[in-house]
């Protein structure tokens, strides 16, 4: 009885510690929601108060200010994500299922690309984008984004595909299916769960990217959401703190929606393949 009580107290303490930490970790987010619903006057006079009456006008202004940029972000990130998922699926299938001369050498080469850190190639990439005349073009984002994500993707799809019995592909071949056909109708469905993970991971990092769009896109109309909120903020000025913070919340919405539909991926998928012992 006493041991049980002690255990319960222990568990209670654990809950208390975890929940306290969690609450503090959520403070910036709570603050974001609070400030975004307050007017300038409310912020000065009653910083700690509940943001009532809600200043929904902030959100109206924020949406008006950044919706086009959120659209840009979604389009660019989706294009790069689709490209990476497709290339991962193809590459994983080729390396995992097919046998062809130079396979191991090519795979080694592919893996070795992982050693190139972003900071090393930042400058030449910038010069390359300039000399190709891609500055301010969506391709200045999509192409570099899609040059890297597929390495991890290919590794993951490869291990998923090579785990499949070869007989499936053999019998497909006997039934007259070509390489492309068996890729589309067998490999893609098999790799779909891992492809979802790859897609979600990559989409999130593209949508989050700040530095590269800041560097290669200067046209406000073509700018992505993460950079646009700062421009919106400088336009709104000091009196527009509520509006600026509302814009932060607005650009978070697409990722929130994605999370709702794929929380499984976040809670397990992100770590799968990251560590193997």
């Amino acid at each position: 009885m006493k041991a049980r009580l002690k255990r319960n107290i222990n568990q209670g303490l654990i809950y208390a510690a975890v929940l306290t930490t969690l609450t503090v970790a959520f403070l910036p987010i709570i603050l974001m929601l609070g400030v975004s619903l307050k007017t300038r006057y409310q912020l000065i006079v009653d910083f700690w108060g509940f943001p009532y009456p809600f200043a929904f006008g902030n959100y109206a202004e924020a949406v008006k200010g950044v919706y086009a940029n959120v659209g840009n972000s979604l389009i660019y990130a989706s294009a790069a994500t689709v490209l990476v998922a497709l290339l991962s699926a193809m590459g994983g299938y080729v390396f995992g299922v097919l046998d062809f001369p130079g396979r191991n050498a090519l795979y080694m080469l592919l893996i070795s690309f992982l050693m190139i850190p972003a900071i090393l190639i930042l400058t030449p990439r910038l010069a390359l984008i300039n000399s190709l005349g891609l500055r301010n073009s969506p391709f200045a984002l999509i192409l570099p984004w899609a040059s890297g994500g597929q390495i991890m993707g290919i590794m993951l799809v490869r291990s998923a595909a090579s785990g499949q019995p070869k007989e499936i592909f053999e019998s497909a071949r006997i039934d007259g299916a070509g390489e492309f056909r068996s890729f589309w109708s067998i490999s893609i469905p098999i790799a779909l769960p891992i492809l979802t993970t790859i897609a979600v991971m990559n989409f999130m990092s593209y949508y989050n990217d700040y530095l590269w769009p800041l560097t290669v896109i200067s046209d406000e109309k073509r700018q992505v959401a993460t950079v646009a909120i700062q421009m919106f903020q400088s336009n709104a000025g000091d009196n527009g703190v509520g509006q600026s913070v509302a814009a932060y919340a607005v650009i978070t919405v697409p990722l929130l929606v994605m999370f709702i539909f794929s929380s499984r991926v976040y809670m397990s998928g992100l770590t799968s393949g990251a560590v193997k012992t």
Partner: protein
């Protein structure tokens, strides 16, 4: 197998190095040279047979041959605002309103007084057209070249910046943005409107090319604008046009671009090392005269560049092609024994290669090629402003020490690294162990859910929220301090020298990083119930369980996080970029931020590459050692 692998790595390293070197050699632009002598900035210039004549701001007129050597110079009595050459004579228009005629040998042969200050002139088709700019009377006077007799005086709405003669017409572009089209036969006038102030005019194909000072380019045909486009250049800088065959070169600011008759750009614009003062084209070469840093023209800045379109786009594309070819060769060199037997097989399996092609094309163009460029260019003076690149040895690395920003950056990076290690080894690990030791599965799930949830907030939003928290006037921290009556403790946290660095480290408090948490939690899950049960039977619990059981069993996860964190911390500078810009002063500089500034604002590409190379080495060595160690232990941490 191991030997083969080693051979492959060494062979490909050699092949790639050779490739990088040849690539660098390929990218070297054609050199230029000529006797150097200096003068004032070029005001106007014109082709004079095979020579060029320039009027400069120190009231001189120079005649240089095609190699840039001086044939003669002529001292004028006042500043020459316009000049042109035709039929063995140079016509120099002065601010005083006079036109001075100079012969081929540099002797003055005559003077013509036009009455008011001259803003532009052009001699061609047996006509001399002079634009006069006076406060209330802007006009063009047309003379016959042979007798210098006045044929007509035409009134304009504003001063003309450029005049062109040809195709039976005289053209003038004015400051108000009108282009006048004047028939040579009866001097009847027509106007076409540009968007900005007229800057340059040149006959092009069957029509006329006009540039305005708002970077607008117009193709005028049959008295109307047929096509329009934009050219790069600093806004409102004067534009210069040169035409050769079907190519027009437009120089403005330090950008030189080429267009075909459909106004299609031929390749990307070249950024030259100085402001363009004049542009010539003959054959497929374009010459740009640049103003150097001292605002005087060094005539060795006469720089020949091939037609922009061919020169510029060819480099990356053929480099990529060369890379692809040698890459295929390297692959086959490795599998030499199989090549003969495999030749047929390769064709049979061609679909495999086709499916890999896009991936490798992208990776080679946007990762491998830039990586090698960075390795080579780190030892050069490559810059955004100049196309001429030369090796400078270790100068860039010396610069890191002498300028000092990089050294400050290293010190700060070490501090950030230390704080990262402390953060990642405490809160996420502790919380992961605590959540793991809970008994209620539902509670565990929901706690994990909420710990992971903040991951969806874009990192930039989090950083901006922390800026809000640090805000001196109505940020959370200062409001809190005021609430407790501690007005004296409030400060501008990010702008105060004593607190800026520590404030940056505080960002993200309480450091419950979702990614680290998930890695730790995944490691704990994989320990397995039996091991934990065995530990419990041995009487382990609480902290002892954590230190003697959990911790040793998730060593691989810890090592991975430390390595990943190390790699990320060395490169990431978003925090500094958004919150402090390296300030106050140089207090929060980071090497990555210094690299970014040099690659963007300063345009010192070579130096930025050198910084990148050093950081690459710093990242590579620990990664290599850690992989080596885990390989030897039979454990591998894939990152």
């Amino acid at each position: 197998m191991k030997k083969a692998m080693l051979f492959f790595i060494i062979a490909s390293a050699f092949a790639l190095f050779a490739l990088g070197a040849s690539l660098a050699a390929y990218l070297w632009p054609a050199g230029y040279s000529s006797a150097r002598f200096e003068s004032g900035g070029v005001i106007a210039s014109a082709a004079f047979g095979a020579s060029r004549v320039y009027s400069t701001s120190d009231n001189k007129v120079f005649c240089l041959n095609a190699d840039g050597e001086r044939r003669w110079e002529f001292q004028m009595s006042g500043s020459a605002s316009a000049l042109d050459a035709a039929g063995g004579a140079v016509y120099v228009g002065l601010g005083s309103g006079r036109v001075v005629l100079i012969s081929e040998d540099g002797e003055q042969t005559g003077v013509l007084d036009t009455g008011s200050p001259i803003s532009a002139l052009r001699a061609a088709d047996g006509l001399l057209a002079v634009a006069n700019a006076a406060p209330n009377a802007n006009s063009i006077k047309v003379y016959s070249l042979s007798a210098l007799s006045l044929l007509a005086e035409l009134t304009l709405n504003s001063a003309a910046n450029a005049i062109e003669i040809g195709g039976g017409r005289i053209y003038a572009a004015t400051r108000r943005g009108d282009v006048y089209l004047v028939a040579q036969s009866d001097f009847t006038m027509k106007t076409v409107r540009l968007d900005g102030e007229g800057a340059a005019l040149r006959l092009f194909g069957a029509g006329l090319l006009a540039a305005d000072k708002s970077n607008g380019l117009y193709y005028i045909e049959d008295g109307a604008i047929a096509l329009r486009d934009a050219f790069p250049g600093d806004n409102y800088s004067s534009a210069h046009i040169a035409v050769s065959g079907g190519t027009a070169a437009v120089g403005a600011g330090n950008a030189l671009s080429a267009f075909d008759t459909g106004l299609k750009k031929r390749g990307a614009a070249l950024r030259l090392g100085g402001t363009i003062q004049a542009v010539y084209a003959d054959g497929d070469r374009i010459t740009a005269v640049l103003r150097d840093e001292n605002a005087t023209v060094a005539f060795d800045a006469l720089r020949s560049v091939a037609v922009v379109g061919v020169f510029k786009t060819a480099a990356p594309l053929s480099a990529a092609a060369a890379l692809a070819v040698s890459f295929v060769l390297a692959v086959f060199a490795f599998d030499l024994r199989r090549v003969k037997a495999a030749a047929g097989l390769v064709y049979k399996k061609r679909r495999a290669y086709i499916m890999l092609l896009p991936t490798f094309a992208l990776l080679i163009l946007f990762a491998l090629y830039p990586a090698f460029q960075a390795l080579v260019m780190a030892f050069t003076d490559w810059s955004a402003a100049s196309r001429a690149v030369s090796f400078v040895g270790l100068d860039n690395f010396r610069l890191m020490v002498s300028e000092g920003y990089f050294l400050i950056g290293i010190k700060n990076t070490l501090l950030f690294l230390a704080s990262y290690f402390i953060k990642v080894l405490t809160v996420p690990l502790g919380i992961a162990a605590l959540v793991f030791s809970l008994r209620n599965e539902r509670a565990k799930y929901w706690l994990r859910f909420f710990i992971v949830l903040p991951m969806i907030v874009p990192s930039i939003v989090m950083i901006l929220m922390w800026r809000n928290i640090f805000d001196p006037s109505n940020g959370l921290i200062n409001t809190l301090l005021r609430g407790f009556g501690q007005e004296g403790l409030t400060r501008a946290w990010l702008a105060d020298e004593r607190t800026a660095l520590w404030s940056l480290m505080l960002v993200g408090f309480p450091f419950l990083d979702a990614f680290s948490f998930l890695i730790y939690y995944g490691g704990l899950i994989s320990i397995g119930g039996e091991v934990i049960e065995a530990g419990r039977l041995d009487g382990a619990k609480g902290l002892r369980m954590f230190f003697s059981l959990y911790l040793p069993l998730i060593k691989a996860q810890i090592a991975t996080l430390l390595l990943l964190g190390f790699i990320a911390q060395l490169q990431d500078f978003n925090l500094v970029l958004v919150l402090t810009k390296g300030g106050p002063g140089t207090k929060t500089y980071l090497p990555g931020y210094e690299l970014y500034l040099n690659a963007t604002a300063f345009g010192r590409y070579g130096y930025a590459c050198a910084l990148g190379l050093l950081m690459f080495v710093a990242i590579f060595i620990p990664s290599f050692i850690s992989n080596y160690i885990s390989d030897r232990r039979g454990k591998r941490v894939d990152i």
